[in-house]
Amino acid sequence: MKEQKFWNPYLAGVGLGLTLLSAFVLMGRGLGASGALMRFDVWLLKVIAPGHTQANAYFSKYFESPLSNWLVFEVIGVMIGGFLSGALAGRLKVKTGKGPNISVKNRLILAFIGGSLIGFSARLARGCTSGLALTGGATLALGSWAFMFAVFAGAYAAAYFVRKQWI
C-alpha cells in the first residue's frame, strides 16, 4: 500500500482540540501520556522489587493497583487509535526514524538518552506535552504555559548540538 500524505496540521489541530474538549466535557479532566507511563513503570517495579518500590517515597503513591487509572485506559486507546490511523494510511513499517547523516545505532543511543531526559523531567514538571502543556494550555494554567515556553527554549537551544541526527 502506498503511504498517504499526512493531513493538514490545522485540521489535525482542530481534531485534537475537539478530543481534548470532549475529555473536559465528559470527565472534567484533560488528556495525558506520561502519567500512564509512570504507572506502567511502577507496575513493572512492583513485579521486580515490591518491597523496594513500596518503601520509595515517590513510587509508593502509585503502589496500590497502579494500572487502575483513567490515563492508563486512555493510553491504551492512543495505541489503538494510532495503529488504526497508521494502518489506514499505509504507514505501518518497522524502521528507525532519523536524518540521512547518522547511523541507526547512534540514533538509537540518542533516542534512549532523550527518552531518559523526558521521563525524568516529565515527573519533575508533573506532566508532559499532553497532560501539562496541551491540557493546561487550554485551561490557561499558568504553570502549563511556563512549561510550554521552557520546552521550546530547551529544544531550540539543544537542536544545534544534535543537528547531525536530523538534518
Partner: protein
C-alpha cells in the same frame, strides 16, 4: 450540566470506557498529523517543519474557545474542570530538560506511543529510556523534593496572575496563535527543504 462525570451521570467504570474512546481519537489525530515520526517532530526545532507548533496551538485554541463558550452558555461548570497546579520552579526547570530531551530523543511521551505501534524502533527505545528516566527520578526523589515543590502557586490561571478577564486573555491567545501560524508558514517557506516523511 458538564463535566458529566463530576455531576454523577456515570461512574468510574464507564469513565474507563470513555478514556479508551477519547484515547483512540487522541492517537488517531496524533498519527494523522504525522506525529508518529521522530524526524518530522524534530525538524520543528530547525524551522523546517512547523507542524508541532501548528497542531499544538490549534488544539489549545480550539479547546480553549470551546470551554469559554460552554461556560458562557452555562453548559459547563468550569470550577469542576481540572486546572494543573503551578509549581513554577519545577515546571520551568522540568520544561528546559524536557525540551533538550525532545530535540535529542525526537519524541515526547504521547507521540512515542504512537511511533511504537507504527513499528518505529527509535520510539520503542525512547519509551525504554522514558521508563528508565522515571525510575531515576523516583530513586533520587529525596534529593529532588525541594525543586519538585518549588514555586507552588496552587491552581493558578494566567487570568489570576495578570488579574485580567478570561475573554481578554482568550482573545490575546488567539491573536498570538495566528501570529505564530503566520510566522510558521513564513519559516517553512524559507527553511523547509523537503517535506519530512
Amino acid at each position: 450540566m458538564a463535566p458529566f462525570f463530576k455531576f454523577g451521570y456515570f461512574g468510574v467504570e464507564t469513565g474507563y470506557v470513555i478514556a479508551l474512546l477519547v484515547g483512540i481519537s487522541f492517537g488517531f489525530w496524533l498519527e494523522r498529523a504525522g506525529f508518529g515520526e521522530s524526524r518530522k517532530l524534530a525538524l520543528q526545532f530547525y524551522f523546517e517543519d512547523m507542524t508541532v507548533l501548528k497542531v499544538m496551538f490549534t488544539a489549545i485554541v480550539t479547546a480553549m474557545i470551546g470551554l469559554m463558550y460552554f461556560t458562557l452558555f452555562g453548559w459547563i461548570d468550569i470550577s469542576q474542570v481540572y486546572v494543573n497546579p503551578t509549581y513554577l520552579g519545577a515546571q520551568v526547570v522540568g520544561g528546559l530538560i524536557f525540551g533538550i530531551g525532545f530535540a535529542v530523543g525526537g519524541y515526547c511521551p504521547g507521540t512515542s506511543v504512537v511511533g511504537a505501534v507504527l513499528g518505529r524502533i527509535d520510539a520503542l527505545v525512547f519509551l525504554g529510556g522514558a521508563l528508565f528516566g522515571m525510575f531515576v527520578f523516583g530513586e533520587l526523589f529525596p534529593l529532588l523534593e525541594g525543586l519538585y515543590n518549588s514555586g507552588y502557586m496552587g491552581a493558578a490561571k494566567i487570568t489570576d496572575w495578570l488579574k485580567a478577564p478570561t475573554g481578554l486573555i482568550g482573545f490575546l491567545v488567539i491573536i498570538a496563535a495566528i501570529a505564530m501560524f503566520l510566522g510558521a508558514e513564513w519559516a517553512e517557506n524559507k527553511f523547509g527543504k523537503e517535506p519530512a516523511k
